[in-house]
């Protein structure tokens, strides 16, 4: 099984947007075309302001090719390399699924 994917440890994603711009630079995508987009999610238990939690979730779109041109040369995808929170991982789905065991909150994208 060699299918590849991206694991996001979103306990640590703080919404810095480096993955977004790294992807655009790598692929030359113009404004409006996103290979990966960071969504802000704010949830709380109504009436209990102390329970507010902010999460950021990078979402790879149809225009994400897992940086095929880079990974074929053994480099990491640009988003993974430049992630300032070091919360993105690239690998086979199996490797990444194993990594998830240690993560408090994470999400695995297959491509």
């Amino acid at each position: 099984m060699t299918r590849k994917g991206l694991l996001i440890d979103y306990d640590y994603c703080s919404g810095c947007m480096s993955c977004v711009v790294a992807c655009k630079q790598e692929h030359g995508y113009p404004a409006g075309k996103w290979g990966i987009k960071v969504e802000e999610k704010v949830f709380m238990d109504p009436g209990k302001p102390d329970t507010v939690r902010i999460d950021y979730i990078p979402f790879p779109t149809e225009f994400c090719d897992l940086c095929a041109a880079r990974t074929s040369k053994g480099d990491e995808p640009s988003c993974v390399k430049h992630c300032q929170a070091w919360c993105m991982y690239y690998g086979t789905i199996q490797e990444l699924a194993l990594l998830m065991e240690d993560k408090h909150r994470s999400v695995l994208y297959s491509r």
Binding site: D11, Y12, S14, G15, C16, M17, S18, V20, V21, A22, K24, Q25, E26, P30, A31, G32, V38, V42, M44, P49, V52, R53, I54, Y56, S78, K81, H82, C83, Q84, A85, W86, C87
Partner: protein, 747 residues
């Protein structure tokens, strides 16, 4: 320099402004093909950031080759604000600047010319070279009341322990977290410091907090606004804006009364502990709860977490030093760090020096003297605006005091101000408080120059000459603050742009060839890099270096005060008059200021000081939350960045918004007692119901630059509701950048 098979050159260098608009430090790889930058990536071999990179640096190609970049020198041909410009040559531009500035000097004296810088970049070093060569002592950041950005922090550190500090995230060690001498803090405090914005406030990266948390560090967040890190913190305190000083005093009260003090350190290395202990008795947590709105249980818990866990560290964000009594608050926080024994230990707060003592931008009095000599430093105080009024302004570094300066510009007292050189700085969109007042004063001046990368509202409204500056891959320079010594090198030429260094160097040499004895910028950099043992070209080969262990400007051995590495006379101790950390500040005593920390509610408007205004203006306005993609007034025209943070927002609590029938996306009118402006609503529970947050420095480069629109600043600028003239008694620490009272309605 490496070269790929496709003929792409890969240049390793340090990143700094112009471009990312940052405080620098990162190592990057700049990819160049056919004389053009085609990509910028992080450099994995560089210890500061290990290949990571911020979005602003990743968007460098859009920045450098943007069609709206200033490409050649411009001369104003219409009235100021009319937006009419004519292309001129560099020779003509330099001739005009030289002639007009010399005319002003003859007529009014050299002090008539003010030199205003923005933040970041190495521009402080450049401006001092130009100002002092021309003969003016008035180096400043025009309109920023009490110089409330980093200077109160530097000055507070200077009078307490002789230096400033940052939390130790192993940033001075080549092996970083793997170095056996280093240990992660058990607790670290993010005090009004926005983690996910990277380096935007200081020479310290917010993401190191992430790295520390992954290694087990517990985070305490102090912020009136719920941030991402507040939702990840072990403890979050939500004080009322402007009351950080009360919180710090209550922490001291708990730490001292519960005996959480490092006695050995205090006995051996601190001065005046008993007096401090006596003073803080009047500031128990109950007292602070009433002022700060933070429950006393949380105050006690935070103080215990800091006092009971060693090592612990505190990162101080800009809003803390921007408190009206900013320098006092900073001194109190330094006292917390010192008495808990966390100063200059692994995982504590590191005494921070420029790499190898190489100075490009003078941050301390010592560095001003290092660059310009004792005689000039003394002479600077004779006529410098504010130096006669404020002993700390006179003694620390060499700024002109902004609140006194605007009065001088209006009254011609103590002397007329008639010209301004504005570089890497967009005050009318960004830092100048009471915007119209500054515009009126700037409009009256006889000759103004703006040096920048894009046309700005400030340039449109005030400039006679506009000079185009190069981005960082277009210049030779050096970075030296906070850890590594990085080389920045010119690898491409864009249009006719010149580096900030080249511009000031050329003109400074015309004014005073003796003060600028070097042949060119590179020779000057060689000279300034001498303490490192490298020439510019030697280090350019390598890219960067850290001072080795044992060097007084590294971080190890830790506890440099023990081994005499801090003082000029090589004696153990600190660089203060008593040689100790001054909990009782002898410098303040000498200057007639209170040598111990105290708290007074001195914000011009607040629920406590002006309850009658609070009735009609029932919300506290905070400004200046950071953006990961926009640096102060920059980057609004960069498509990849703007689309990530597209709108001039106001953040409002859902209950507050629903009372006024406001939903996300509505335009909102925000009115204070001084003026009003508009913003687009973002309704979010991260904001306290009695507060709003207004991100600062918004302008719209896509709209008309000529008057009356001026890229929308008069509609959007929150500084129109923030006054000057409420600075601390020390002269530093200032205006209520957060804390003014407002009301909102649907526009």
């Amino acid at each position: 320099m490496a070269k790929t098979e496709e003929g792409v050159e890969i240049h390793k260098m340090g990143a700094w402004s112009p471009g990312p608009g940052c405080h620098g430090g990162c190592g990057v790889e700049v990819y160049v093909k056919d004389g053009k930058v085609i990509k910028v990536e992080g450099d994995k071999d560089h210890p500061w950031y290990n290949g990571r990179l911020c979005p602003r640096c990743l968007a460098m190609t859009q920045y450098m080759y943007h069609e709206d970049r200033l490409k050649y020198p411009l001369k104003r041909v219409g009235e100021r604000g009319e937006g009419k410009w004519e292309r001129i040559s560099w020779d003509e531009a330099f001739d005009i600047c030289e002639t007009r500035m010399n005319e002003l000097k003859e007529k009014y004296g050299p002090e008539t010319m003010v030199f205003s810088q923005g933040t970041g970049r190495d521009v402080g070093g450049m401006l001092t070279l130009l100002a002092y060569s021309y003969g003016s002592p008035n180096w400043t950041m025009w309109g920023l009341s009490g110089h409330s950005c980093f200077t109160p922090q530097l000055a507070g550190g200077y009078v307490t322990q002789g230096e400033f500090t940052f939390p130790d995230a192993a940033q001075c060690l080549k092996e970083r977290y793997k170095d056996p001498e280093w240990t992660p803090p058990k607790v670290t405090v993010s005090w009004a410091s926005t983690l996910n914005r990277g380096c935007v406030d200081h020479y310290w990266s917010g993401f190191w907090f992430n790295d520390l948390m992954k290694q087990g560090t517990k985070l305490i967040v102090i912020d009136p606004r719920c941030t991402w890190e507040a939702t990840r913190a072990a403890l979050w305190l939500q004080p009322r804006p402007g009351t950080d000083g009360a919180l710090a005093l209550a922490f001291l009260n708990v730490i001292i009364n519960e005996d959480l003090v490092d006695k050995e350190f205090v006995d051996k290395w601190c001065y005046g502990f008993d007096k401090l202990a006596e003073r803080v008795q009047q500031y128990p947590p109950e007292w602070a709860e009433e002022i700060t709105w933070v429950p006393k249980e949380k105050i006690i818990k935070a103080a215990r977490m800091i006092g009971e866990n060693s090592p612990a560290s505190i990162e101080i964000g800009r809003p803390v030093e921007g408190n009206p009594d900013g320098t006092t608050v900073i001194m109190a926080i330094h006292q917390i760090i010192a008495i808990t024994g966390n100063l200059d230990i692994p995982g504590g707060n590191l005494i921070c020096r420029p790499a190898y003592q190489v100075t490009t931008y003078p941050y301390s009095t010592e560095e001003v003297i290092q660059l310009y000599g004792e005689d000039l430093h003394k002479k600077l105080s004779e006529k410098r605006i504010g130096a006669d009024k404020y002993p700390l302004v006179k003694s620390f570094r060499a700024w002109a005091q902004e609140d006194v300066l605007i009065e001088a510009m209006e009254t011609d007292k103590p002397y007329p101000i008639r010209g301004m050189w504005i570089q890497a700085n967009n005050p009318l969109a960004n830092q100048a408080q009471d915007t119209k007042r500054h515009y009126e004063a700037g409009k009256k001046l006889e000759f103004n120059v703006v040096v920048d990368t894009f046309m700005t509202p400030t340039a449109q409204l005030l400039a006679d000459i506009v000079l185009p500056a190069g981005a960082f891959p277009e210049k030779d320079s050096v970075y030296c603050i906070g850890g590594p010594l990085n080389v920045i090198k010119k690898v491409v030429q864009v249009e006719e742009c010149k580096s900030d260094w080249e511009i000031v160097f050329t003109l400074a040499k015309r004014f005073n060839p003796e003060r600028v004895p070097w042949k060119d910028v590179k020779e000057m950099l060689d000279d300034r890099m001498q303490p490192s043992g490298y020439t510019f070209d030697q280090l350019a080969e390598k890219g960067w270096d850290l001072a080795p262990k044992g060097h007084p400007c590294g971080s190890t051995p830790y506890r440099r005060y023990e081994s005499g590495l801090l003082r000029k006379d090589k004696k153990p101790g600190f660089r203060t008059p008593t040689g100790r950390v001054e909990l009782y500040c002898t410098s303040y005593e000498k200057w007639g200021l209170d040598p111990l920390p105290s708290y007074k509610e001195i914000t011009p408007e607040s629920p406590i000081t002006t309850p009658e205004i609070w009735k009609d203006y029932p919300l506290i306005m905070m400004t200046g939350r950071r953006s990961p993609v926009l640096f102060h007034s920059e980057h609004r025209q960069i498509p990849w960045l703007r689309e990530c943070d597209p709108d001039p927002l106001v953040e409002i609590n859902p209950d507050t918004a629903s009372e006024k029938g406001i939903v996300t996306g509505d335009w909102v009118l925000i009115e204070g007692t001084m003026g009003k402006f508009k913003r687009k609503a973002k309704v979010t529970p991260i904001i306290h119901p009695k507060m709003i947050m207004v991100p600062h420095a918004w302008w719209l480069p896509e709209t008309e630059g000529a008057s009356p629109n001026n890229y929308g600043i008069w509609d959007l600028n929150c500084n129109q509701t923030i006054p000057m003239g409420h600075q601390d008694k020390s002269g530093f620490g200032g205006g209520p950048i957060s804390g003014m009272l407002v009301r909102i309605s649907k526009a």
